[in-house]
């Protein structure tokens, strides 16, 4: 049984400019202990996907449907209250983007980490605090951090606090939304090492959201590439990185600077589409060098070049 099965997930926002399909017909499957990297430019809908999975939605929702099956439980059948009590944070936790603003500035961080645990029935304050201390230790944070306020901690420490907070209820799946984007390279490496270790030691499943393909490839077993609210390509790390099927993924790979290569990093021509006025047909076609008539008319279906690889592009039609 798959840990997480998402099919035809849609999350549309109602904005002043019109309806914005932030997440559109997204389907994916994650196995236990697996790390899936969700990659894309900013505005591609990565964070909205995370919010849709956590069901922490903003007010201006125009549409939210699809099936999210977690450990065989169809979450869409659960009420908000049931979902909050049974799934959120206990089974699926999340590390939010921007650790700077994700902590309550007037509460000691240790207590913030302990909070979800304290809400569990039968957990005493001492037990909870001891658990927090263990988490801090696991994340290589000194114990006195417990008594600190967020503004007294460095960015890297705060991010690790956020991870500790996500892990406090021992969830099966952790969603990490750009956990390292605001940090400098050294801290970034530290955090990545911590994550790798946790994945190995705890058998944690990770949904890793990033705009950095290299970072994703470092940690993940599988990659999903998002563009304009859709997953346009997904598959194992090997498949996606070595044989990118979608012209967008190819372009994205070409933008990554390489240490040992003479090749100059390329830019993807054009700009991401206006999400409230998406082009007809394939959403990437105005920027695509291979676009042909059909791309301008019809939205491509997902094709499978091989069982572990899926591409949403007309170029793959008819191929095995």
């Amino acid at each position: 049984m798959a840990l997480l099965r998402v099919s035809d997930l849609r999350l549309y926002y109602a904005t002043v400019g019109g309806v914005l399909p932030a997440v559109d017909e997204v389907s994916l499957i994650m196995e236990g202990g697996e790390a899936l990297g969700v990659v894309g430019e900013s505005g591609a809908g990565k964070s909205s996907l995370a919010l849709a999975l956590m069901r922490t939605l903003p007010r201006n929702i125009a549409l939210y449907d699809g099936i999210i099956e977690f450990e065989g439980v169809d979450c869409s059948k659960l009420s908000d209250e049931e979902f909050r009590k049974r799934i959120r944070w206990q089974r699926i936790a999340m590390v939010f983007q921007g650790a700077m603003d994700s902590l309550n500035p007037v509460m000691r961080v240790g207590h913030q980490v302990a909070e979800p645990l304290l809400l569990q029935p039968g957990v005493s304050r001492e037990q909870a605090y001891a658990a927090v201390q263990r988490q801090l230790e696991l994340l290589l944070l000194p114990p006195e951090v417990f008594q600190r306020y967020p503004h007294e901690l460095s960015g890297g420490m705060r991010q690790r606090i956020m991870i500790a907070m996500a892990l406090i209820l021992s969830p099966k799946l952790v969603i990490l939304d750009e956990p390292t984007s605001a940090l400098d390279v050294i801290i970034q490496a530290q955090i990545m090492n911590v994550l790798k270790r946790l994945k190995g030691e705890l058998g944690l499943s990770i949904l890793f959201i990033t705009h950095d393909l290299a970072l994703a490839s470092d940690l993940c077993d599988a990659i999903a590439v998002m563009y304009a609210g859709e997953i346009i390509e997904q598959g194992g790390v090997e498949e996606v990185l070595t044989e990118p099927g979608h012209p967008y993924t190819q372009k994205l790979l070409a933008t990554v600077p390489r240490l040992k290569s003479e090749a100059i990093p390329e830019f993807i021509p054009g700009a991401p589409p206006d999400m409230t006025h998406l082009p007809q047909g394939c959403r990437f076609h105005p920027r695509c060098p291979h676009a042909f008539e059909r791309c301008r008319r019809e939205r491509p279906l997902p094709f499978r070049p091989n069982p572990r690889h899926q591409v949403r592009c007309w170029l793959w039609r008819g191929r095995p």
């Binding site: 922490t56 939010f96 983007q97 902590l103 500035p105 007037v106 979800p116």
Partner: protein, 349 residues
């Protein structure tokens, strides 16, 4: 910076405010010749009394004049009236700072004392009673209504109510008071139009308290009416700003129940900025108290101020200017301390 240093710095600034006000008062009085005239008036008053009492004992007019003259010189010497006003400045400043406020010219305390300190101390509790009660009521209404409004921000009701709240800024306290007197006192005779107790005041405890409440109702309603709008608006805005912070979404994602999120992540975090905004309104409420007491003839310091202006009693006016600043600064300092307690970011910066 440690907690103590932060507090000390705020305390010092506020002390500077007090000093500046005092200097402003003393220099204005000196430079305009006002203080000379006041001292001369005091001396002639004393001389008149002396002449009357001495006239009984000293029969010889020449001798009387001589004695009076030497006494006059003595007094001028004593008050340093022979020197320009700025030589008297340090003395005056230190006198006022030690709350040695002098004698009133014409006004008396209810018990008949002419010492300014007696007159003021008699009234101070009445003012504090009125203002703190009004402020407490305002705070409760403001917090409840503000939070309620913030949860339905953007709705038509919110827009309309916010608009009316903001416009209550345009209401002068004294006019609202007059309006209430006309309606509830003159037209419907529900409440007395002024004063603190009926005449004669009821002696028995319960009746006395009820009488006080009846008299305090209109002034308190006035103060609440003119200030709760701004309070509510401030609370609403601050709560709304805080509710949009990422850590609130995090708290919800953590699975915390909504009341806890609201209390611990929104209200608690919004408290310091709410407090700051209210600190700024504190000076305004002192003005409101002066005018409201005047309208309702409430025997507090505000009404005393008005009476002193009408009677042109300088020493009381000066003393009250100083006392009002002092009261304001003390209140301000209390708020600053609570701010520091509420917001750890200030505490350790």
């Amino acid at each position: 910076m440690s907690l103590a240093t932060t507090l000390a710095l705020r305390g010092f600034t506020l002390f500077c405010v007090l000093l500046v006000v005092l200097l402003l008062v003393v220099i204005t009085l000196g430079a305009t010749g006002f203080s000379d005239r006041m001292l001369q008036a005091t001396i002639s008053e004393e001389m008149r009394g002396l002449r009357q009492s001495l006239a009984q004992t000293i029969r010889d007019p020449d001798q009387l004049e001589q004695v009076l003259h030497s006494r006059h010189q003595q007094l001028i010497d004593y008050y340093h009236l022979d020197k320009p006003w700025y030589f008297r400045l340090p003395n005056t400043v230190s006198q006022v700072l030690t709350l040695d406020l002098g004698e009133a010219r014409t006004m008396r305390s209810f018990k008949g004392s002419s010492r300014v300190a007696d007159i003021v101390m008699e009234r101070l509790p009445n003012t504090i009673l009125l203002v703190t009660t009004a402020m407490l009521i305002t705070a409760v209404i403001g917090l409840l209504a503000g939070v309620r409004l913030a949860t339905r921000a953007g709705s038509r009701a919110d827009r309309v109510v916010s608009f009316f709240l903001a416009s209550s800024y345009a209401l002068p306290a004294w006019w609202v008071g007059i309006f209430l007197i006309l309606i509830f006192s003159f037209k419907f005779a529900l409440f007395p139009s002024g004063g603190m107790y009926s005449l004669p005041p009821p002696q028995e405890g319960m009746a006395r308290l009820l009488d006080l409440l009846r008299h305090a109702a209109l002034p308190i309603i006035t103060l609440v009416l003119v200030s709760f709008g701004v309070w509510t608006y401030v609370v609403r805005t601050m709560v709304l700003n805080t509710a949009q912070e990422p850590f609130v979404s995090v708290a919800r994602a953590k699975g915390l129940p909504e009341p806890l999120v609201r209390r611990r992540y929104i209200l608690r975090v919004a408290a310091p900025p709410i407090l700051t905004n209210l600190t700024l309104g504190l000076a305004g409420s002192i003005g409101g108290a002066i005018l409201t007491e005047t309208v309702f003839n409430w025997p507090g310091m505000g009404r005393l101020y008005y009476d002193a202006i009408m009677a042109a009693d300088e020493s009381i006016i000066i003393a009250l200017t100083f006392i009002f600043t002092l009261v304001y600064i003390i209140a301000r300092f209390i708020l600053e301390v609570s701010y520091i307690i509420l917001d750890p970011r200030i505490r350790y910066v």
